[in-house]
């Protein structure tokens, strides 16, 4: 197993800088998830770690050894592709044993190790099948099998669940988590789905526009986002943002009762409140007044979208599943002030 280190890693295609200097240390056995919107550079970074893409500058170190220029196969890294990339003309057994066959190991050794891997992944009855004859989840497991047979130092996953339907995705997510538990291997996982990131990661790396916005454990990112981007990206439904105007040491926003600016937040221009940190006012006084526009029932909980006159967007409010509120109801909301986040004009959290 191994620790992985990216140091001032850069990538540009012609004049366009795609990755603008990454520094990241991944500890031995850690499960790290790269998350971010499409085009943020997370996949490119993964492909540079794999060796499928050249780094324009900077270094990739595996256990302290510089592998920036090493060939992909020489890095001791395995990768699970989004499309699984199973060879359609080879059986499950040959797909899993492909790398060993290229190493010219003898047949008996290959067969034994393939059988071993198949056993742990419950693929034994499928060894003679072709990829086309497998279900999505089975293909996924074969792809994982091909990755683990070579005992790689690092596993890379490139959006491995995005081709699966919702139910299977949850199941495979658990399976990958279990795999990480059992192997204790270093894993780097790319996804644009922040739920996958939250549930799988020891640490999440939030990418945006070729840069790392923040690195931290899921709850760190959720509770203490470093900036507006992370605050908005992590958490579903996402945080509510209210524009602020400062007047005489108080913050004003359309539809909101003026509130005193806490010390250190004097320069705030925006207020962020998560849906669960808004509540229906019990009395007549509250921080915000508006009208319910839409109700989304998920069963265990309900989201209400509240139209506050003057606000650029509806505010999302989390309610119990059995709420009886209906669209059109006027409501008054209170803000859980200590959990509210204040953002400066450049997006930093104050």
């Amino acid at each position: 197993m191994a620790q992985l280190q990216l140091s001032d890693l850069r990538k540009s295609f012609g004049q366009t800088d795609v990755i603008r200097g990454l520094n990241l240390d991944i500890a031995d056995g850690e499960f790290v998830v790269f998350v971010g919107p499409s085009g943020c550079g997370k996949s490119t970074t993964l492909r540079m770690i794999a060796g499928l893409e050249d780094a324009s500058a900077g270094a990739i170190l595996l256990d302290g050894a510089d592998v920036t220029r090493a060939r992909p196969a020489d890095r001791g890294i395995a990768m699970v592709f989004q499309s699984y990339a199973l060879f359609p003309h080879l059986t499950v057994a040959d797909n899993i044993g492909f790398g060993l066959q290229l190493q010219k190991l003898d047949r008996a050794t290959i067969a034994a190790r393939v059988a071993d891997v198949a056993e742990t992944l419950h693929l034994t009855p499928l060894l003679g099948r072709y990829p086309r004859e497998l279900s999505g989840g089975q293909r996924q497991r074969v792809a994982i099998g091909r990755a683990i047979i070579r005992n790689p130092k690092v596993f890379l996953f490139d959006e491995p669940l995005s081709n699966l339907d919702a139910a299977l995705r949850v199941q495979m997510r658990l399976e990958i988590a279990r795999l990480h538990h059992r192997l204790g291997a270093t894993m780097v996982y790319v996804t644009h789905d922040q739920v996958e990131a939250m549930t799988l990661a020891d640490r999440i790396v939030v990418f945006n526009d070729g840069r790392i916005e923040q690195v931290g454990s899921p709850m760190e990112l959720y509770d203490h986002p470093a900036n507006r981007f992370v605050a908005g990206f992590i958490g579903a439904p996402s945080m509510n943002f209210l524009p602020l105007r400062r007047a005489e040491g108080r913050a004003e926003s359309p539809g909101m009762a003026p509130a005193p600016l806490p010390p250190g937040k004097e320069t705030a221009t925006e207020l962020g409140i998560r849906p669960e940190h808004l509540a229906l006012a019990t009395g007549t006084t509250g921080d915000l007044t508006g009208e319910i526009e839409l109700i989304e029932r998920l069963g265990a909980e309900t989201y209400a979208y509240v139209r506050v006159p003057g606000q650029p967007a509806d505010l999302t409010l989390r309610l119990p599943g059995d709420t009886t509120l209906r669209p059109g109801t006027p409501v008054t909301l209170t803000i859980d002030w200590p959990r509210a986040r204040w953002f400066s004009s450049d997006g930093r959290v104050l």
Binding site: A85, F87, H89, L102, R146
Partner: protein
């Protein structure tokens, strides 16, 4: 299925179409049938004007004459010696270049690809004289070498075009997965991409075999002595020997076309696909 459909009035359209097609099919087949008939009739019958009547008896003398002629054996052997290697070489070279254009593109690779493919469109007469001089200088005139070489080279446009287009349909992730597993580019080509391209290879083999087998121009230019001629030139040469032996000429034509006819019958699907693929992507 038919029971569930409401009964409609008699529609004369399909019957009309069918009849028209039958008439056209007969017209289209007539020339070929003529050759077939001639091959089983005696020269006397044909010159008496009985070529187009139904044969009274099956006369096989023409075929024994053709198949017993050592010159014909020689022509056949020469044609095989040209067609098989030239087909194999052009497809191999096409696969090599097609792989680069599909999977390892570089700045200017599209322009280079277009230059090669454009070669398909030019009349071969344009390069006739310089090639003649080149092979004359190499002392290869009147051997099969120039024919093989030129067919390998001129097969490149279609082979590169089809291999590139087919390789492009093989997902890039397969190449990358193989590379992650330690495959070299050569192993990616031979162990992953080519095995997945068997249909394209079949298409190309069928097309190239037919074209090279049927070619007339290049062996006409590069060979002179009778022992180096290919079958299509041989047919023309034998016209003198069998000047009014029409039946023998018919049998000879049939025998000469047999390989391509067999290829056509067995690989019709690939053949048509190749024609339309090469054409539409051109």
């Amino acid at each position: 299925m038919a029971d569930t459909l409401p009964r409609t009035r008699f529609n004369p359209w399909p019957a009309t179409v069918f009849t028209v097609l039958c008439v056209l099919a007969v017209l289209f087949l007539l020339p070929t049938v003529g050759v077939l008939l001639s091959s089983i009739k005696t020269t006397r019958e044909i010159s008496m004007g009985q070529l187009w009547s139904a044969p009274a008896s099956l006369f096989l003398g023409n075929f024994t004459e053709v198949l017993g002629n050592p010159a014909v054996h020689r022509y056949f052997l020469n044609t095989l010696l040209v067609t098989l290697p030239a087909t194999a070489v052009s497809i191999t070279l096409g696969a090599l270049a097609g792989y680069v254009f599909a999977k390892l593109p570089f700045r200017g690779s599209n322009a280079l690809f277009l230059v090669i493919v454009a070669g398909m469109f030019f009349p071969p007469q344009v390069i006739l004289v310089p090639l003649f001089r080149l092979f004359n200088g190499l002392g290869l005139i009147d051997t099969l070498w120039p024919v093989i070489i030129v067919h390998s080279a001129l097969g490149l446009p279609i082979c590169v075009l089809m291999m590139r287009n087919f390789f492009a349909t093989v997902p890039n992730a397969l190449r990358e997965a193989a590379i992650m597993e330690g495959a070299s580019e050569w192993q990616v080509l031979t162990r992953v991409v080519l095995p997945l391209s068997l249909p394209a290879l079949a298409v190309l083999a069928t097309l190239q075999f037919t074209w090279i087998w049927n070619d007339f121009l290049w062996p006409l230019i590069f060979t002179q002595s009778d022992t180096k001629r290919t079958i299509m030139i041989g047919i023309v040469n034998l016209k003198g020997q069998y000047s009014v032996a029409w039946g023998v000429q018919g049998a000879l034509s049939l025998v000469a076309s047999l390989p391509t006819l067999l290829v056509f019958l067995f690989f019709q699907r690939f053949f048509i696909k190749g024609m339309t693929m090469g054409a539409v992507k051109g």
